[in-house]
């Protein structure tokens, strides 16, 4: 039976149920239990936003607090993954990749290829991403294009609680290294989530709204903003198809191409910075593959090429909003 759960609860449930099902699944990260070695309670935090709250009570020493030492414990998760475990490591904020990136992009991502197909590294690295939390430049980035750029990594970005549970279970069962993004602004958003275990396959985009006039391709928190824009545009007689990519690597370009073949118009919406972004990647692929189907130039709606600002007045401008998305659709439809 489905319950109305927040994405926070859905992620917690996915971890809990997979750990109960598979004894090789362990979780590690800073404060994911919280309170280890401290005089007060264990499970004091359950992660900085409480996503893993209660798991250490159920799963004991398989929920491992770590020192503040991303380079060591992300690397250890990867080493353990090549040694028979299925670790889920929490890199608290994706912004912290700067201190442990070697272990991700030079080690985990490359083992399979460098070792001639003989290594398996079934590690999941969960990380919070995205702006809108008033967390400023070093706790608010997307950085999705950096991971998507690297062969050997899989990159997953759910936009809602239902997808979060199914995609996280799929990520844990996948035998390749997976970067699993959780947008901190989506943790409290709710959806109907089945009680039981289920998976959502990678490279299957979700057409969240159908329409014949323009295609909007996006992921993460801008899915809802794109839907808001599509709702406003419908009142003007413009029907948008909105595609939630769900996984950035592998990416479901077939669904995008099929949609643009029909609409002839494409707007790519990406909360990441614009250069070499997912938006740029999708735009280039569509232009290369089905240029003849396009009735207008492809448009991108992204964050500006700046760090994430702190001031709420500026941060609200930074994130692509429904108004900007709708304006871009109007431009492409007018052409």
């Amino acid at each position: 039976m489905a319950r109305n759960l927040s994405m926070n609860e859905a992620v917690n449930e996915a971890l809990d149920q997979e750990m109960a099902r598979d004894p090789t699944v362990i979780c590690m990260g800073e404060d994911i239990s919280g309170g280890t070695g401290s005089p007060g309670e264990d499970d004091a935090w359950g992660g900085p936003l409480g996503v893993t709250k209660g798991l250490s009570v159920k799963h004991g020493d398989r929920i491992m607090d770590t020192p503040l030492s991303e380079s060591a414990f992300i690397g250890a998760a990867i080493g353990a993954a090549c040694s028979g475990l299925r670790p889920v490591a929490e890199l608290m904020f994706v912004d912290f990749m700067g201190v442990c990136f070697d272990e991700i992009f030079n080690q985990a991502a490359k083992f399979r290829y460098m070792f001639g197909g003989k290594a398996e590294t079934p590690v999941v690295i969960r990380c919070m991403a995205g702006a809108g939390f008033r967390a400023a430049a070093q706790h608010s980035q997307m950085l999705t294009p950096i991971f998507t750029h690297i062969p050997g990594l899989k990159v997953v970005f759910p936009s809602n609680a239902y997808d979060a549970k199914g995609l996280l279970i799929q990520s844990i069962r996948d035998n390749d290294p997976v970067i699993f993004f959780e947008h901190k602004n989506l943790y409290d958003t709710k959806a109907d989530v089945p009680e039981g275990l289920y998976t959502i396959p990678f490279a299957e985009a979700n057409v969240v709204r159908e329409g014949d006039d323009a295609t909007i391709v996006t992921y993460g928190q801008t899915v809802q903003r794109s839907l808001d824009a599509a709702g406003a545009l419908a009142k003007e007689g413009i029907e948008c198809e909105v595609i939630d990519l769900r996984t950035l690597s592998p990416i479901d370009m077939d669904t995008v191409l099929e949609s643009v073949e029909n609409t002839g118009r494409l707007v790519c919406v990406d909360e990441a910075n614009p250069r070499c972004s997912i938006a740029a990647d999708v735009s280039a692929t569509v232009t290369q593959e089905i240029f003849g189907a396009l009735k207008a130039g492809v448009r991108m709606v992204t964050a500006p090429h700046t760090p994430v600002p702190f001031s709420p007045a500026l941060e609200d401008l930074y994130i692509p909003g429904a108004d900007r998305i709708a304006a871009a659709v109007r431009q492409t439809v007018a052409n």
Partner: protein
Amino acid sequence: MTDQPFSIDRGTLLDAYRTMKTIREFEERLHVDVARGDIPGFVHLYAGEEAAATAIMLHLGDNDRIASTHRGHGHCIAKGVDVKEMMGEIRGKASGACKGKGGSMHIADLSKGMMGANGILGAGAPLACGAGLAAKRRGDGGVAISFVGDGASNQGMFLESLNLAAVWNLPVVFVVENNGYAESTSVEWAVACDSYVDRASGFGMPGVTVDGTDFFAVHEAAGEVIARAREGGGPSLLECKMYRFYGHFEGDAQTYRAQGEVENLRENHDCIKIFRAAVTGAGVISAAELDTIDAQALALVNEAVEHATAAPMPGPEDLETDVYISYA
């Protein structure tokens, strides 16, 4: 067993000598073949350091894991990776241990517990922590060894790994192979403490310094720290002071060395000569037996070169395979 002064039986000593000699012949041959232009890319030779890898690996089984370095050929051979597959790999051949996709700096054989040579200095240490964690959870007494050079011992990820291994009480031994040079830079200058033992104590673990050219000393010291790890006593740091006979990489002009330094090393600090003198001097193994092994090691390496030379290169169909296990 005949009465002899060593704590290691004669058969094991013969095996150890064979391993050391195979590593030496492998590296000497590569030195020649690189100069001849037969080998693509970077090659870092382990010649001169054989006693450490050999003595340490005698304490390990396939269930135990090692994370190696850019200078990994010796670790590979001592851990049991097939010499033919290694030679093929270094030549970029389809017959290589990694189908020619890794090369000298990325030889791995997980079935032998060899988690890979590594082109990123210090990166093996966190991986060894992970292998140690897996062994600890299995509860089978498995250990993991992290090899690191004196240079990479300054990397943050190495120092973080010492702390993590101590905090989690992991069955990991950190082996610092101190050959005196981080590429061209002296360890005396680049490491800001007098002794690695001090570094170990800073992380709450035992630290031992041993003469890495003395096979027996390494074997004894490694035996103690590995046994400690197996028994749940936690991590240790073992520094092996040693010498490399060649440059940081093949092609290194080595102008940072003192005049006559390498000649002196080969004459007076060759771990294989020292081993040979010890076992023949004690009357445990005859020179003739060792000479036979010398010839067999050379033949094995020659055969590996022939095999690798004859092997095909990977084809265009191999370029895009092995990136993922599943592509959706």
